[in-house]
């Protein structure tokens, strides 16, 4: 049997360092919000021309061009980012559909000498110089609304889960009250969420990874997953408390963690197997989402074994003092 509970100080230290680093990173660098939250326009273009224009050419097209109505004020700061071999991603302020069409025309005119004899959609067999793969323009109001909704959803999930756990463990209120199991699960999941957010804060700073709606979905999923994992371990404690009445609480908890550790690892392994295969072979648009889930599954398993159960013992000892 592994002495997990007895060595709890080591695990608490590891986790405290990770959480502290994450919080520091979040405070210093923060997260990079995507247009879902700020409002803005995102346009992904694929060039079929050889060679594809370089970033400076594109940038000049947007900013220097005086003949069109696409003005600098209207677009704000234009960010251009190459994607793959032929793709290009543009970001700027939210714009109207008219301006969107103007930009498309501008691109067509500049990179197709035959324009406008081959117009965008009317001639299906002509290879177009430019294909618009993705276009999103989100008004700032919708972004703010989403931010508000998200905060609410996360708070709701946390509260509902504490309530549910307190209820599910109502029959084991000795030596630790059932709502403390709920708090323990929430501390563990807070630990998970903060570390995952911290990782994405670092990724945002150094790899430009943005936080979008999918990331929030991932966080909420991690909530569910982490609690699920913690509950399984707690469930065994609940059962063993009945079976080994009169034994030391610390030993019972340690035994429970040991009895469930194989299951915890196997479940993580199978979940991670799927997540890794989606990460490696799935579409690029959910890659960051899956990465968040992978981090979450990893720290979620860790916290359910090394944080959530040892916390119960700490509380029990504090109470006895």
């Amino acid at each position: 049997m592994l002495n997990i509970i007895q060595n709890r100080k080591t695990y608490f230290t590891i986790s405290s360092i990770l959480v502290a680093l994450s919080i520091a990173s979040l405070l210093i660098w923060g997260l990079v919000p995507a247009i879902d939250f700020t409002g803005g326009t995102l346009m992904e273009i694929e060039f079929n021309t050889e060679p594809i224009p370089n970033i400076q050419e594109i940038r000049n097209l947007f900013i220097v061009n005086k003949d069109t109505q696409v003005s600098k004020e209207e677009l704000g700061e234009v960010r251009v980012q190459p994607i793959g071999e032929k793709g290009m991603l543009f970001r700027f302020k939210p714009i109207s559909e008219d301006t969107h069409q103007e930009i498309l025309t501008l691109l067509h005119e500049n990179f197709n000498p035959d324009y406008p004899t081959t117009t965008a959609t009317t001639t299906p067999n002509v290879i177009l110089p430019i294909e618009e793969l993705k276009y999103e323009s989100i008004g700032p109001v919708i972004g703010q609304e989403l931010q508000k909704k998200t905060t609410w959803a996360i708070a709701m999930v946390a509260v509902c889960i504490i309530l549910y756990i307190a209820w599910a463990f109502r029959k084991v209120s000795k030596p630790v009250q059932s709502w403390k199991y709920g708090i323990g699960a929430i501390v563990a999941l807070g630990h998970d969420i903060i570390i995952v957010a911290g990782i994405f804060s670092v990724l945002g700073r150094f790899a430009g990874v943005e936080i979008d709606v999918l990331f929030v979905t991932a966080l909420l999923t991690i909530l569910g997953y982490s609690v699920n994992d913690t509950i399984v371990v707690y469930d065994r404690t609940r059962e063993n408390l009945h079976r080994y009445q009169g034994f030391d609480f610390e030993d019972i908890v340690n035994r429970s963690v040991n009895e469930t550790i194989v299951r915890s690892l196997n479940t993580s392994i199978t979940t991670l197997l799927v997540l890794f295969s989606v990460y490696l072979f799935g579409g690029a648009s959910i890659r960051n989402f899956v990465l968040a889930l992978i981090c979450g599954a990893f720290v979620g398993t860790y916290s359910s074994i090394f944080i959530a159960s040892p916390l119960l013992v700490v509380w029990q000892k504090l109470r006895r003092r």
Partner: protein, 586 residues
């Protein structure tokens, strides 16, 4: 096989083995039915005479298409009518979109706080510009009555502001006039710089050739009577628009005749002269800048929503083109009420916020027939009638968000996620069989049935699968595996403790169940909140994960258990991954 029809008569009692075979039979039937639904070219059941096509509905991110969010401007509408007005917008847009020929469009309304939105999803539509035009060009038709509470006179503040603005304008105009008197050659240069007439400004103030009857009287008097060619006015000319400084460039004779505008009475042209002039305009403000004509009219509830048909007709006396309107029953009653209350008053017909016709009501009109007479020609009347028929909006809408995914990007996503899913499932199957042996193999079979059932549910409900939805489904497979892992670990414990196989299976299930239940309910809570709070993509994720979890509980408890029980007499330790040791007891 037991004879089921005789069960009641002989109070036939099933033994445990019969129950087991019954369960197996049930699982096979379920799997078969689910398989039929899942099969790409499966049957299309005829329900109540309606052929219903069963297929996976792919979200916009997977098949390409357009997602538009419109905000409805309901500020002028009383709170209690807002909901139905926005529903009206929805109906009209849906009709429009159907004309457009989009397969499976989704048009729905959403209220966020105090804001009403209409969300339009057009799968397969990649020419957004055209789609937006089709939806947005739909005219806004309203019948309004005079608002007795509307502001008709300026407040003292507004009057003060207007007067001081106009005094300032006059001062500026005088300064420009003095500058031009000094240097008449710089007229066009100064016009480009200072004129407040946006149309002529760029051309150095030049207005082109015009004859009498085309400009306001004060302006014409100055040009035709007061100025010689090449001369500039020595004093400011004041009109309703503001102060003008005018230069007469040229003059020529034209043949006398009549000047005809389509749809209007022929007009006699004054004199036989035509002039070319330039001007510099400094605008002044008038009462109309503060009190808008449109603001003096109020909402009656009668809008394009209640319109049944509209047609082009010709006025009996004038012969001019008119657009006649026929309201539906609801509109008929409303129109009768409005006309009854406004006998002797005007009722305004507003199109896209502008008055097109202001008829005075002579008597109550009970038959729901109205006509729009205005200054439009036949082509315009036809176009208006056509657009009204396609649906007039009851409230104005603004596009606040749009998303468009190209078809090739969607296709790549589908192929990649499909491949990734298959690889992930194969890896899980491999892991389960290697680690848990016979139970692992049975779990893989059970998971196969689970997959069939979930996909069938997705098709039947139907769930719109987005990329996030696919991720939810894949994650739910992980949860389903977890339930099996929990059961097997428990079972192994019981076996190690020396319990006989059948008892170990039974105990394993019983003890794993509380974990499975509590763990999954907490995830279900998360799914529920995601579905409740989320936008389309997050909702899809919550729904697929939630459905997956519910089916996974069913699968673990019924399907895996039944499969295991079939083998409960095959007591070979190696197959179950346990070294049997009769002496180990807890």
């Amino acid at each position: 096989m037991p004879n089921y029809s005789s069960q009641k008569a002989y109070t036939f009692k099933m033994g445990p083995r019969q129950k087991l075979w019954g369960a197996i039979f049930l699982i096979i039937i379920l799997a078969f039915l689910a398989g039929l639904v899942d099969w790409p070219k499966g049957p299309e059941p005829v329900i109540g005479g309606i052929r219903r096509e069963i297929k996976i509905h792919l979200g916009l991110d997977l098949q390409g298409g357009t997602h538009l969010v419109y905000q409805a401007d309901v500020a002028d509408i009383p709170a209690k009518d807002q909901g139905s007005a926005v529903e009206g917008v929805r109906d009209v847009i849906e009709r429009r979109v159907n004309v457009f020929g989009v397969s499976e469009p989704i048009v729905q309304t959403a209220k966020v706080g105090e804001v009403w939105r209409v969300i339009v999803e057009l799968p397969g539509v990649t020419d957004v510009g055209e789609a937006i035009q089709m939806i947005g060009e739909t005219p806004l038709l309203e019948f309004k009555e005079y608002d007795p509470n509307a502001q008709t006179e300026l407040t003292s503040e507004q009057r003060y502001e207007m007067e001081s603005y106009n005094t300032d304008a006059k001062k500026r105009a005088e300064e420009i006039l003095q500058a031009i008197k000094k240097e008449p050659a710089r007229f066009s240069e100064i016009a480009q710089e200072k004129s407040e007439d946006p149309v002529s400004k760029e051309k150095g103030g030049e207005l082109g050739w015009f004859a009498r009857g085309q400009m306001v009287p004060e302006f014409e008097e100055a040009v035709f009577e007061g100025l010689e060619v090449g001369e500039v006015t020595q004093a400011l000319i004041q009109t309703d628009f503001g102060y003008h400084i005018i230069k007469k460039n040229d003059e020529r004779s034209i043949a006398t005749g009549s000047f005809e505008v389509e749809g209007q009475e022929p007009q006699e042209l004054g004199g036989n002269r035509e002039v070319n002039a330039s001007h510099i305009l400094i605008r002044t403000k008038s009462v109309n800048d503060y009190i808008k004509f449109e603001d003096q009219w109020k909402y009656t509830g009668l809008t394009g929503k209640q319109l049944e048909t509209s047609r082009v007709e010709f006025g009996q006396n004038t012969g001019a083109a008119e657009v006649s309107l026929l309201f539906n029953d609801e509109g008929k009653d409303l129109f009768a009420k409005i006309t009854e209350q406004n006998v002797g008053n005007q009722v305004g017909i507003f199109l896209d916020g502008f008055p097109v016709s202001l008829p005075t009501v002579q008597e109550k009109i009970p038959n729901g027939k109205a006509r729009i007479t205005g200054t439009f020609n036949l082509t315009e009347a036809k176009e208006l009638a056509m657009r009204l028929n396609a649906g007039a909006l009851p409230v104005p809408i603004n596009l606040v968000s749009q998303q468009n995914i190209g078809p090739s990007l969607g296709k790549i996503s589908v192929e990649k996620s499909f491949l990734a899913g298959i690889i992930g499932i194969l890896l899980i199957a491999l892991f389960m069989i290697i680690y848990y042996r016979l139970p692992g193999l049975l779990a893989v079979l059970a998971l196969g049935v689970y997959g069939l059932l979930v996909l069938a549910l997705f098709k039947l409900i139907p769930v719109t699968l987005t990329l996030a939805g696919v991720a939810g489904f894949i994650l739910s497979i992980g949860m389903a595996v977890d339930a099996n892992v929990l059961i097997f670990e428990r079972m192994k414990e019981e076996l190690r403790a020396g319990k006989p196989l059948d008892l170990a299976i039974h105990e394993g299930f019983k003890r794993a169940w509380t974990s499975i239940r509590d763990g999954n309910i907490s995830t279900l809570i998360t799914c529920f909140i995601l579905y409740w709070f989320g936008t389309s993509m997050i909702r899809g994720f919550g729904l697929t994960l939630g459905l997956g979890i519910i089916v996974s509980m069913f699968s673990a408890i019924l399907i895996t258990k039944t499969f295991l029980k079939v083998f409960e007499r095959v007591d070979i330790g190696w197959l179950w991954g346990v070294k049997r040791n009769e002496n180990t007891r807890l």
